[in-house]
Symmetry: C2
Subunit: 272 residues, 2 copies
Protein backbone atom coordinates (compact mmCIF):
# COMPACT_ATOMS: atom_id res chain seq x y z
CA UNK A 1 0.00 0.00 0.00
CA UNK A 2 1.45 3.41 -0.90
CA UNK A 3 2.25 5.22 2.34
CA UNK A 4 0.41 8.40 1.29
CA UNK A 5 -2.89 6.55 1.19
CA UNK A 6 -5.56 7.52 3.69
CA UNK A 7 -6.99 4.78 5.89
CA UNK A 8 -10.29 5.41 7.65
CA UNK A 9 -11.31 3.23 10.56
CA UNK A 10 -14.00 5.25 12.33
CA UNK A 11 -17.70 5.32 11.48
CA UNK A 12 -17.95 8.93 12.66
CA UNK A 13 -15.15 10.12 10.37
CA UNK A 14 -16.33 13.25 8.50
CA UNK A 15 -15.35 11.76 5.11
CA UNK A 16 -17.48 8.68 5.81
CA UNK A 17 -20.38 10.94 6.72
CA UNK A 18 -19.94 13.00 3.56
CA UNK A 19 -19.80 9.88 1.38
CA UNK A 20 -22.79 8.34 3.09
CA UNK A 21 -24.72 11.57 2.60
CA UNK A 22 -24.42 11.07 -1.18
CA UNK A 23 -27.13 8.46 -0.85
CA UNK A 24 -29.56 11.35 -0.39
CA UNK A 25 -30.65 13.51 -3.29
CA UNK A 26 -30.27 16.87 -1.56
CA UNK A 27 -26.69 16.10 -0.61
CA UNK A 28 -25.88 14.84 -4.12
CA UNK A 29 -27.30 18.04 -5.53
CA UNK A 30 -25.40 20.23 -3.07
CA UNK A 31 -22.13 18.41 -3.71
CA UNK A 32 -22.65 17.84 -7.43
CA UNK A 33 -21.34 14.31 -6.93
CA UNK A 34 -22.69 10.76 -6.92
CA UNK A 35 -21.67 7.26 -5.85
CA UNK A 36 -21.15 4.14 -7.92
CA UNK A 37 -19.96 0.77 -6.68
CA UNK A 38 -18.39 -2.41 -7.92
CA UNK A 39 -15.24 -3.17 -9.85
CA UNK A 40 -16.97 -3.99 -13.11
CA UNK A 41 -19.05 -0.84 -13.10
CA UNK A 42 -16.10 1.38 -12.15
CA UNK A 43 -14.00 -0.25 -14.86
CA UNK A 44 -16.73 0.44 -17.42
CA UNK A 45 -16.72 4.03 -16.21
CA UNK A 46 -12.95 4.33 -16.56
CA UNK A 47 -12.99 2.85 -20.06
CA UNK A 48 -15.61 5.47 -20.99
CA UNK A 49 -13.37 8.24 -19.66
CA UNK A 50 -14.99 8.69 -16.26
CA UNK A 51 -12.47 8.39 -13.43
CA UNK A 52 -13.78 8.81 -9.88
CA UNK A 53 -12.56 11.75 -7.83
CA UNK A 54 -12.44 9.49 -4.80
CA UNK A 55 -12.05 5.73 -4.70
CA UNK A 56 -12.98 3.83 -1.53
CA UNK A 57 -11.58 0.33 -1.10
CA UNK A 58 -12.27 -2.36 1.45
CA UNK A 59 -9.01 -3.02 3.28
CA UNK A 60 -9.65 -6.77 3.07
CA UNK A 61 -9.91 -7.55 -0.64
CA UNK A 62 -8.52 -9.87 -3.24
CA UNK A 63 -5.92 -8.35 -5.57
CA UNK A 64 -7.22 -7.81 -9.10
CA UNK A 65 -5.46 -6.30 -12.11
CA UNK A 66 -8.51 -4.16 -12.97
CA UNK A 67 -8.54 -2.78 -9.45
CA UNK A 68 -4.87 -1.90 -9.72
CA UNK A 69 -5.57 -0.09 -13.01
CA UNK A 70 -8.43 1.77 -11.39
CA UNK A 71 -6.29 2.88 -8.46
CA UNK A 72 -3.56 4.03 -10.81
CA UNK A 73 -6.06 5.98 -12.93
CA UNK A 74 -7.50 7.76 -9.90
CA UNK A 75 -4.08 8.70 -8.59
CA UNK A 76 -2.87 9.81 -12.03
CA UNK A 77 -5.91 12.11 -12.27
CA UNK A 78 -5.11 13.66 -8.89
CA UNK A 79 -7.93 11.86 -7.10
CA UNK A 80 -7.83 10.27 -3.69
CA UNK A 81 -7.80 6.57 -2.79
CA UNK A 82 -9.15 5.71 0.66
CA UNK A 83 -9.03 2.36 2.42
CA UNK A 84 -11.60 1.40 4.98
CA UNK A 85 -13.32 -1.58 6.59
CA UNK A 86 -16.05 -3.62 4.85
CA UNK A 87 -18.46 -2.45 7.59
CA UNK A 88 -17.84 1.20 6.81
CA UNK A 89 -18.08 0.55 3.06
CA UNK A 90 -21.40 -1.15 3.76
CA UNK A 91 -22.55 1.93 5.65
CA UNK A 92 -21.54 4.18 2.76
CA UNK A 93 -23.26 2.18 0.04
CA UNK A 94 -26.24 1.10 2.14
CA UNK A 95 -25.80 -2.50 1.05
CA UNK A 96 -25.44 -5.43 3.40
CA UNK A 97 -22.88 -7.12 1.19
CA UNK A 98 -21.13 -4.22 -0.49
CA UNK A 99 -18.78 -4.77 -3.34
CA UNK A 100 -15.16 -4.19 -2.44
CA UNK A 101 -14.90 -0.81 -4.12
CA UNK A 102 -16.95 2.37 -4.56
CA UNK A 103 -16.22 5.60 -6.37
CA UNK A 104 -17.37 9.19 -6.13
CA UNK A 105 -17.97 10.94 -9.45
CA UNK A 106 -18.76 14.52 -10.39
CA UNK A 107 -22.24 14.74 -11.88
CA UNK A 108 -22.34 15.27 -15.63
CA UNK A 109 -23.71 18.18 -17.61
CA UNK A 110 -27.40 17.33 -17.97
CA UNK A 111 -28.49 20.22 -20.18
CA UNK A 112 -30.31 19.57 -23.45
CA UNK A 113 -27.63 21.70 -25.09
CA UNK A 114 -25.08 19.03 -24.24
CA UNK A 115 -26.85 16.47 -26.48
CA UNK A 116 -25.80 15.81 -30.07
CA UNK A 117 -29.08 14.54 -31.46
CA UNK A 118 -27.49 13.40 -34.70
CA UNK A 119 -25.07 11.22 -32.78
CA UNK A 120 -27.62 8.41 -32.40
CA UNK A 121 -30.73 7.09 -34.17
CA UNK A 122 -32.67 6.50 -30.94
CA UNK A 123 -33.12 8.50 -27.76
CA UNK A 124 -35.19 7.43 -24.78
CA UNK A 125 -37.39 9.96 -22.99
CA UNK A 126 -38.91 9.45 -19.51
CA UNK A 127 -41.65 11.71 -18.22
CA UNK A 128 -42.09 12.01 -14.45
CA UNK A 129 -40.78 8.50 -13.78
CA UNK A 130 -40.65 8.06 -10.00
CA UNK A 131 -38.85 4.74 -9.68
CA UNK A 132 -35.03 5.03 -9.82
CA UNK A 133 -34.87 1.34 -10.74
CA UNK A 134 -36.95 2.06 -13.84
CA UNK A 135 -34.60 4.91 -14.82
CA UNK A 136 -31.57 2.68 -14.35
CA UNK A 137 -33.19 -0.07 -16.38
CA UNK A 138 -33.98 2.42 -19.17
CA UNK A 139 -30.34 3.49 -19.23
CA UNK A 140 -29.29 -0.16 -19.48
CA UNK A 141 -31.76 -0.77 -22.31
CA UNK A 142 -30.61 2.42 -24.03
CA UNK A 143 -27.05 1.12 -24.03
CA UNK A 144 -28.25 -2.17 -25.52
CA UNK A 145 -30.21 -0.61 -28.39
CA UNK A 146 -27.49 1.90 -29.19
CA UNK A 147 -29.48 4.89 -27.97
CA UNK A 148 -27.70 8.19 -27.49
CA UNK A 149 -29.08 8.78 -24.05
CA UNK A 150 -32.00 9.32 -21.72
CA UNK A 151 -33.90 12.59 -21.47
CA UNK A 152 -35.79 13.14 -18.21
CA UNK A 153 -38.87 15.35 -18.48
CA UNK A 154 -40.55 17.06 -15.53
CA UNK A 155 -40.22 15.62 -12.03
CA UNK A 156 -38.32 12.34 -12.44
CA UNK A 157 -36.43 10.28 -9.89
CA UNK A 158 -32.71 11.04 -9.71
CA UNK A 159 -30.67 9.11 -12.30
CA UNK A 160 -27.61 9.56 -10.05
CA UNK A 161 -29.19 7.81 -7.07
CA UNK A 162 -27.45 4.65 -5.89
CA UNK A 163 -30.47 2.57 -6.99
CA UNK A 164 -30.54 4.02 -10.51
CA UNK A 165 -26.78 3.74 -10.98
CA UNK A 166 -26.92 0.12 -9.80
CA UNK A 167 -29.84 -0.79 -12.07
CA UNK A 168 -28.10 0.87 -15.04
CA UNK A 169 -25.28 -1.69 -14.77
CA UNK A 170 -22.81 0.95 -15.87
CA UNK A 171 -24.94 2.52 -18.60
CA UNK A 172 -25.09 5.73 -16.55
CA UNK A 173 -21.55 6.20 -17.90
CA UNK A 174 -22.24 5.28 -21.53
CA UNK A 175 -25.57 7.06 -22.05
CA UNK A 176 -25.95 10.84 -22.11
CA UNK A 177 -28.45 12.09 -19.53
CA UNK A 178 -30.40 15.33 -19.87
CA UNK A 179 -33.05 16.90 -17.66
CA UNK A 180 -35.69 19.40 -18.77
CA UNK A 181 -39.23 20.62 -18.24
CA UNK A 182 -41.69 19.78 -21.00
CA UNK A 183 -41.86 23.25 -22.64
CA UNK A 184 -38.07 23.45 -22.80
CA UNK A 185 -37.82 19.93 -24.22
CA UNK A 186 -40.52 20.52 -26.83
CA UNK A 187 -38.89 23.76 -27.94
CA UNK A 188 -35.45 22.12 -28.16
CA UNK A 189 -36.83 19.10 -30.02
CA UNK A 190 -38.41 21.30 -32.72
CA UNK A 191 -35.20 23.20 -33.42
CA UNK A 192 -33.91 20.23 -35.39
CA UNK A 193 -34.83 16.86 -36.87
CA UNK A 194 -36.49 14.43 -34.49
CA UNK A 195 -39.56 12.18 -34.39
CA UNK A 196 -41.29 12.05 -31.01
CA UNK A 197 -43.00 8.69 -30.42
CA UNK A 198 -45.16 7.70 -27.47
CA UNK A 199 -46.64 4.44 -26.32
CA UNK A 200 -50.26 5.51 -26.08
CA UNK A 201 -53.84 4.36 -26.31
CA UNK A 202 -55.04 7.64 -27.86
CA UNK A 203 -55.40 7.70 -31.63
CA UNK A 204 -52.54 5.23 -31.89
CA UNK A 205 -51.40 2.74 -34.53
CA UNK A 206 -49.91 -0.71 -33.96
CA UNK A 207 -46.31 -0.45 -32.80
CA UNK A 208 -45.16 -3.04 -35.33
CA UNK A 209 -44.76 -1.61 -38.79
CA UNK A 210 -45.20 2.02 -37.70
CA UNK A 211 -43.16 4.54 -39.75
CA UNK A 212 -40.31 5.19 -37.33
CA UNK A 213 -37.66 7.70 -38.44
CA UNK A 214 -34.27 8.66 -37.02
CA UNK A 215 -33.50 10.42 -34.78
CA UNK A 216 -36.42 8.79 -32.99
CA UNK A 217 -37.31 9.94 -29.47
CA UNK A 218 -39.18 7.16 -27.64
CA UNK A 219 -41.17 8.54 -24.71
CA UNK A 220 -42.85 6.78 -21.79
CA UNK A 221 -44.79 8.40 -18.96
CA UNK A 222 -45.26 8.21 -15.22
CA UNK A 223 -45.78 4.77 -13.64
CA UNK A 224 -49.29 5.56 -12.36
CA UNK A 225 -50.67 8.27 -14.60
CA UNK A 226 -48.94 7.66 -17.93
CA UNK A 227 -48.26 10.65 -20.18
CA UNK A 228 -50.39 13.83 -20.02
CA UNK A 229 -52.73 14.01 -23.01
CA UNK A 230 -51.12 17.27 -24.14
CA UNK A 231 -47.75 15.56 -24.40
CA UNK A 232 -49.16 12.60 -26.33
CA UNK A 233 -50.87 14.94 -28.76
CA UNK A 234 -47.58 16.75 -29.36
CA UNK A 235 -46.02 13.47 -30.56
CA UNK A 236 -45.35 12.79 -34.23
CA UNK A 237 -46.43 9.18 -33.78
CA UNK A 238 -48.50 7.36 -31.18
CA UNK A 239 -48.21 3.60 -31.12
CA UNK A 240 -49.84 0.87 -29.11
CA UNK A 241 -48.66 -2.54 -28.02
CA UNK A 242 -51.06 -5.50 -27.83
CA UNK A 243 -52.61 -5.86 -24.37
CA UNK A 244 -54.22 -9.29 -24.38
CA UNK A 245 -55.11 -9.51 -20.70
CA UNK A 246 -56.84 -7.44 -18.04
CA UNK A 247 -54.10 -4.84 -17.62
CA UNK A 248 -54.06 -1.74 -19.80
CA UNK A 249 -50.40 -0.87 -19.45
CA UNK A 250 -46.89 -2.27 -19.14
CA UNK A 251 -44.19 -1.43 -16.64
CA UNK A 252 -42.63 1.82 -17.91
CA UNK A 253 -39.14 0.40 -18.41
CA UNK A 254 -40.62 -2.64 -20.17
CA UNK A 255 -42.68 -0.44 -22.51
CA UNK A 256 -39.58 1.59 -23.37
CA UNK A 257 -37.64 -1.59 -24.13
CA UNK A 258 -40.28 -3.31 -26.28
CA UNK A 259 -40.77 -0.10 -28.25
CA UNK A 260 -37.06 0.68 -28.35
CA UNK A 261 -36.19 -2.72 -29.82
CA UNK A 262 -38.96 -2.32 -32.38
CA UNK A 263 -37.58 1.06 -33.46
CA UNK A 264 -34.09 -0.41 -33.68
CA UNK A 265 -35.31 -3.24 -35.92
CA UNK A 266 -37.31 -0.85 -38.12
CA UNK A 267 -34.42 1.59 -38.59
CA UNK A 268 -31.95 -1.26 -39.24
CA UNK A 269 -34.26 -2.67 -41.90
CA UNK A 270 -34.74 0.77 -43.47
CA UNK A 271 -31.00 1.37 -43.71
CA UNK A 272 -30.19 -2.13 -44.92
CA UNK B 1 -71.11 -0.37 9.49
CA UNK B 2 -72.56 -3.81 10.21
CA UNK B 3 -72.38 -4.36 13.96
CA UNK B 4 -70.71 -7.77 13.65
CA UNK B 5 -67.65 -6.20 12.06
CA UNK B 6 -64.41 -6.31 13.97
CA UNK B 7 -62.60 -3.04 14.66
CA UNK B 8 -58.95 -3.17 15.60
CA UNK B 9 -57.32 -0.17 17.22
CA UNK B 10 -54.18 -1.58 18.84
CA UNK B 11 -50.81 -2.08 17.17
CA UNK B 12 -50.11 -5.07 19.40
CA UNK B 13 -53.33 -6.87 18.46
CA UNK B 14 -52.51 -10.50 17.54
CA UNK B 15 -54.38 -10.21 14.21
CA UNK B 16 -52.28 -7.18 13.26
CA UNK B 17 -49.16 -9.12 14.13
CA UNK B 18 -50.29 -12.12 12.09
CA UNK B 19 -51.11 -9.94 9.07
CA UNK B 20 -47.87 -8.04 9.33
CA UNK B 21 -45.97 -11.33 9.53
CA UNK B 22 -47.23 -12.14 6.02
CA UNK B 23 -44.62 -9.71 4.74
CA UNK B 24 -42.04 -12.38 5.56
CA UNK B 25 -41.62 -15.43 3.38
CA UNK B 26 -41.40 -17.99 6.21
CA UNK B 27 -44.66 -16.76 7.71
CA UNK B 28 -46.39 -16.76 4.32
CA UNK B 29 -45.21 -20.30 3.78
CA UNK B 30 -46.34 -21.43 7.23
CA UNK B 31 -49.75 -19.79 6.86
CA UNK B 32 -50.21 -20.57 3.13
CA UNK B 33 -51.49 -17.01 2.71
CA UNK B 34 -50.36 -13.75 1.15
CA UNK B 35 -51.23 -10.05 1.17
CA UNK B 36 -52.41 -7.82 -1.65
CA UNK B 37 -53.40 -4.19 -1.38
CA UNK B 38 -55.37 -1.54 -3.22
CA UNK B 39 -58.95 -1.35 -4.41
CA UNK B 40 -58.13 -1.79 -8.08
CA UNK B 41 -55.98 -4.85 -7.52
CA UNK B 42 -58.48 -6.46 -5.15
CA UNK B 43 -61.27 -5.77 -7.63
CA UNK B 44 -59.24 -7.42 -10.40
CA UNK B 45 -58.78 -10.38 -8.08
CA UNK B 46 -62.51 -10.61 -7.33
CA UNK B 47 -63.39 -10.42 -11.01
CA UNK B 48 -60.99 -13.31 -11.61
CA UNK B 49 -62.69 -15.35 -8.91
CA UNK B 50 -60.23 -14.68 -6.07
CA UNK B 51 -61.98 -13.34 -2.98
CA UNK B 52 -59.81 -12.55 0.05
CA UNK B 53 -60.33 -14.56 3.22
CA UNK B 54 -59.80 -11.39 5.21
CA UNK B 55 -60.33 -7.81 4.10
CA UNK B 56 -58.72 -4.98 6.08
CA UNK B 57 -60.14 -1.48 5.61
CA UNK B 58 -58.95 1.90 6.84
CA UNK B 59 -61.69 3.28 9.09
CA UNK B 60 -61.32 6.69 7.46
CA UNK B 61 -62.04 6.14 3.77
CA UNK B 62 -64.15 7.48 0.96
CA UNK B 63 -67.16 5.36 0.03
CA UNK B 64 -66.74 3.59 -3.31
CA UNK B 65 -69.12 1.22 -5.08
CA UNK B 66 -66.30 -1.21 -5.88
CA UNK B 67 -65.31 -1.29 -2.22
CA UNK B 68 -68.90 -2.05 -1.24
CA UNK B 69 -68.95 -4.91 -3.79
CA UNK B 70 -65.70 -6.23 -2.39
CA UNK B 71 -66.98 -6.17 1.18
CA UNK B 72 -70.15 -7.94 0.12
CA UNK B 73 -68.18 -10.60 -1.76
CA UNK B 74 -65.94 -11.30 1.24
CA UNK B 75 -68.89 -11.59 3.61
CA UNK B 76 -70.86 -13.75 1.18
CA UNK B 77 -67.88 -16.12 1.00
CA UNK B 78 -67.74 -16.37 4.78
CA UNK B 79 -64.63 -14.20 5.08
CA UNK B 80 -63.95 -11.54 7.65
CA UNK B 81 -63.92 -7.75 7.21
CA UNK B 82 -61.78 -5.82 9.68
CA UNK B 83 -61.63 -2.05 10.15
CA UNK B 84 -58.53 -0.40 11.47
CA UNK B 85 -56.60 2.88 11.47
CA UNK B 86 -54.49 4.08 8.52
CA UNK B 87 -51.43 3.83 10.79
CA UNK B 88 -52.04 0.17 11.49
CA UNK B 89 -52.79 -0.51 7.82
CA UNK B 90 -49.49 1.15 7.02
CA UNK B 91 -47.76 -1.12 9.52
CA UNK B 92 -49.35 -4.18 7.92
CA UNK B 93 -48.45 -3.33 4.32
CA UNK B 94 -45.11 -1.73 5.12
CA UNK B 95 -45.97 1.30 2.99
CA UNK B 96 -45.87 4.88 4.20
CA UNK B 97 -48.98 5.82 2.28
CA UNK B 98 -50.95 2.61 2.19
CA UNK B 99 -53.98 2.22 0.03
CA UNK B 100 -57.23 2.14 1.97
CA UNK B 101 -57.71 -1.60 1.67
CA UNK B 102 -55.71 -4.81 1.84
CA UNK B 103 -56.73 -8.44 1.52
CA UNK B 104 -55.38 -11.77 2.65
CA UNK B 105 -55.55 -14.60 0.12
CA UNK B 106 -54.86 -18.30 0.31
CA UNK B 107 -51.85 -19.17 -1.84
CA UNK B 108 -52.67 -20.96 -5.07
CA UNK B 109 -51.69 -24.43 -6.19
CA UNK B 110 -48.26 -23.94 -7.74
CA UNK B 111 -47.62 -27.45 -8.99
CA UNK B 112 -46.71 -28.06 -12.63
CA UNK B 113 -49.60 -30.52 -12.71
CA UNK B 114 -52.00 -27.59 -12.25
CA UNK B 115 -50.96 -26.06 -15.59
CA UNK B 116 -52.90 -26.63 -18.80
CA UNK B 117 -50.13 -26.05 -21.33
CA UNK B 118 -52.54 -26.05 -24.24
CA UNK B 119 -54.50 -23.21 -22.67
CA UNK B 120 -52.07 -20.56 -23.94
CA UNK B 121 -49.56 -20.09 -26.76
CA UNK B 122 -46.92 -18.50 -24.54
CA UNK B 123 -45.59 -19.31 -21.08
CA UNK B 124 -42.88 -17.36 -19.27
CA UNK B 125 -40.18 -19.21 -17.32
CA UNK B 126 -37.88 -17.59 -14.74
CA UNK B 127 -34.80 -19.41 -13.50
CA UNK B 128 -33.40 -18.37 -10.08
CA UNK B 129 -34.67 -14.81 -10.36
CA UNK B 130 -33.88 -13.08 -7.07
CA UNK B 131 -35.70 -9.77 -7.44
CA UNK B 132 -39.40 -9.94 -6.52
CA UNK B 133 -39.96 -6.78 -8.59
CA UNK B 134 -38.69 -8.62 -11.67
CA UNK B 135 -41.08 -11.52 -10.98
CA UNK B 136 -44.01 -9.13 -10.57
CA UNK B 137 -43.06 -7.33 -13.77
CA UNK B 138 -42.87 -10.66 -15.62
CA UNK B 139 -46.37 -11.54 -14.40
CA UNK B 140 -47.61 -8.14 -15.62
CA UNK B 141 -45.95 -8.67 -19.00
CA UNK B 142 -47.36 -12.20 -19.17
CA UNK B 143 -50.87 -10.82 -18.73
CA UNK B 144 -50.23 -8.30 -21.52
CA UNK B 145 -48.96 -10.84 -24.06
CA UNK B 146 -51.69 -13.34 -23.23
CA UNK B 147 -49.34 -15.81 -21.61
CA UNK B 148 -50.79 -18.66 -19.58
CA UNK B 149 -48.56 -18.09 -16.60
CA UNK B 150 -45.12 -17.92 -15.06
CA UNK B 151 -43.07 -20.98 -14.16
CA UNK B 152 -40.40 -20.47 -11.51
CA UNK B 153 -37.39 -22.76 -11.77
CA UNK B 154 -34.94 -23.42 -8.92
CA UNK B 155 -34.45 -20.86 -6.17
CA UNK B 156 -36.53 -17.84 -7.20
CA UNK B 157 -37.83 -14.94 -5.13
CA UNK B 158 -41.35 -15.43 -3.77
CA UNK B 159 -44.07 -14.42 -6.26
CA UNK B 160 -46.44 -13.93 -3.31
CA UNK B 161 -44.24 -11.33 -1.61
CA UNK B 162 -45.78 -7.89 -1.20
CA UNK B 163 -43.24 -6.45 -3.67
CA UNK B 164 -43.95 -9.03 -6.37
CA UNK B 165 -47.72 -8.77 -5.96
CA UNK B 166 -47.47 -4.96 -6.16
CA UNK B 167 -45.26 -5.02 -9.28
CA UNK B 168 -47.60 -7.53 -10.94
CA UNK B 169 -50.37 -4.90 -10.89
CA UNK B 170 -52.93 -7.64 -10.36
CA UNK B 171 -51.48 -10.16 -12.81
CA UNK B 172 -50.68 -12.47 -9.88
CA UNK B 173 -54.43 -13.23 -10.07
CA UNK B 174 -54.70 -13.63 -13.84
CA UNK B 175 -51.54 -15.64 -14.51
CA UNK B 176 -50.99 -19.21 -13.37
CA UNK B 177 -47.88 -19.62 -11.23
CA UNK B 178 -45.92 -22.82 -10.90
CA UNK B 179 -42.73 -23.67 -9.03
CA UNK B 180 -40.33 -26.50 -9.82
CA UNK B 181 -36.74 -27.62 -9.81
CA UNK B 182 -35.08 -27.91 -13.22
CA UNK B 183 -35.17 -31.74 -13.53
CA UNK B 184 -38.87 -31.80 -12.66
CA UNK B 185 -39.62 -29.00 -15.10
CA UNK B 186 -37.64 -30.57 -17.92
CA UNK B 187 -39.36 -33.93 -17.40
CA UNK B 188 -42.81 -32.30 -17.29
CA UNK B 189 -42.08 -30.19 -20.39
CA UNK B 190 -41.12 -33.24 -22.45
CA UNK B 191 -44.32 -35.13 -21.63
CA UNK B 192 -46.19 -32.94 -24.11
CA UNK B 193 -45.82 -30.35 -26.86
CA UNK B 194 -43.74 -27.33 -25.96
CA UNK B 195 -40.85 -25.34 -27.40
CA UNK B 196 -38.32 -24.14 -24.84
CA UNK B 197 -36.69 -20.85 -25.89
CA UNK B 198 -33.90 -18.99 -24.11
CA UNK B 199 -32.33 -15.61 -24.57
CA UNK B 200 -28.73 -16.70 -24.90
CA UNK B 201 -25.37 -15.88 -26.39
CA UNK B 202 -24.46 -19.53 -26.97
CA UNK B 203 -25.04 -20.91 -30.43
CA UNK B 204 -27.99 -18.54 -30.82
CA UNK B 205 -29.84 -17.08 -33.79
CA UNK B 206 -31.32 -13.56 -34.09
CA UNK B 207 -34.50 -13.24 -32.04
CA UNK B 208 -36.39 -11.65 -34.93
CA UNK B 209 -37.57 -14.18 -37.46
CA UNK B 210 -36.70 -17.19 -35.33
CA UNK B 211 -39.05 -20.19 -35.80
CA UNK B 212 -41.18 -19.84 -32.67
CA UNK B 213 -43.90 -22.43 -32.14
CA UNK B 214 -46.78 -22.70 -29.68
CA UNK B 215 -46.90 -23.54 -26.87
CA UNK B 216 -43.69 -21.53 -26.54
CA UNK B 217 -41.89 -21.43 -23.17
CA UNK B 218 -39.75 -18.28 -22.95
CA UNK B 219 -37.04 -18.64 -20.32
CA UNK B 220 -34.75 -16.06 -18.71
CA UNK B 221 -32.10 -16.68 -16.08
CA UNK B 222 -30.73 -15.25 -12.87
CA UNK B 223 -29.99 -11.51 -12.78
CA UNK B 224 -26.24 -11.96 -12.23
CA UNK B 225 -25.33 -15.31 -13.67
CA UNK B 226 -27.86 -15.83 -16.45
CA UNK B 227 -28.94 -19.37 -17.28
CA UNK B 228 -26.71 -22.38 -16.57
CA UNK B 229 -25.17 -23.69 -19.80
CA UNK B 230 -26.87 -27.07 -19.28
CA UNK B 231 -30.27 -25.39 -19.27
CA UNK B 232 -29.53 -23.37 -22.38
CA UNK B 233 -28.38 -26.47 -24.19
CA UNK B 234 -31.63 -28.24 -23.29
CA UNK B 235 -33.57 -25.51 -25.13
CA UNK B 236 -35.17 -26.12 -28.52
CA UNK B 237 -34.19 -22.64 -29.62
CA UNK B 238 -31.62 -20.11 -28.42
CA UNK B 239 -32.05 -16.57 -29.60
CA UNK B 240 -30.11 -13.38 -29.14
CA UNK B 241 -31.14 -9.74 -29.02
CA UNK B 242 -28.89 -7.03 -30.48
CA UNK B 243 -26.55 -5.56 -27.86
CA UNK B 244 -25.15 -2.42 -29.44
CA UNK B 245 -23.38 -0.99 -26.41
CA UNK B 246 -20.96 -2.08 -23.73
CA UNK B 247 -23.38 -4.24 -21.77
CA UNK B 248 -23.82 -7.89 -22.66
CA UNK B 249 -27.23 -8.42 -21.13
CA UNK B 250 -30.60 -6.84 -20.45
CA UNK B 251 -32.56 -6.65 -17.22
CA UNK B 252 -34.23 -10.07 -16.86
CA UNK B 253 -37.79 -8.75 -16.93
CA UNK B 254 -36.93 -6.57 -19.94
CA UNK B 255 -35.43 -9.53 -21.81
CA UNK B 256 -38.56 -11.61 -21.11
CA UNK B 257 -40.77 -8.78 -22.41
CA UNK B 258 -38.83 -8.04 -25.60
CA UNK B 259 -38.70 -11.74 -26.41
CA UNK B 260 -42.29 -12.36 -25.31
CA UNK B 261 -43.64 -9.64 -27.59
CA UNK B 262 -41.58 -11.02 -30.46
CA UNK B 263 -43.02 -14.49 -29.92
CA UNK B 264 -46.53 -13.04 -29.75
CA UNK B 265 -46.06 -11.23 -33.06
CA UNK B 266 -44.56 -14.30 -34.73
CA UNK B 267 -47.36 -16.61 -33.58
CA UNK B 268 -50.05 -14.07 -34.53
CA UNK B 269 -48.56 -13.78 -38.00
CA UNK B 270 -48.33 -17.55 -38.35
CA UNK B 271 -51.99 -18.04 -37.40
CA UNK B 272 -53.27 -15.12 -39.53
Amino acid sequence: MPDHRRVITGFSNPTVKALRALREKKHRKAAGKFLAEGLRLLTDARECGHVPETLVLASARDPHPLLAELEAAVEAAGGEVIETSPDILSKITGKDNPQAVAGVFAEFDTSLASLDRGGADIWLVAQALRDPGNLGTMLRTGDAIGAGGLILIDDCADPFSVEAVRASMGAVFTQKIARAEWPGFEAWLRTGPGQLVAASLRDAQPYRGAPYAAPCFVMVGNESRGLPEEYEMACDLRVTMPMKGRADSLNAAVAAAVLGYEVLAALDTASA
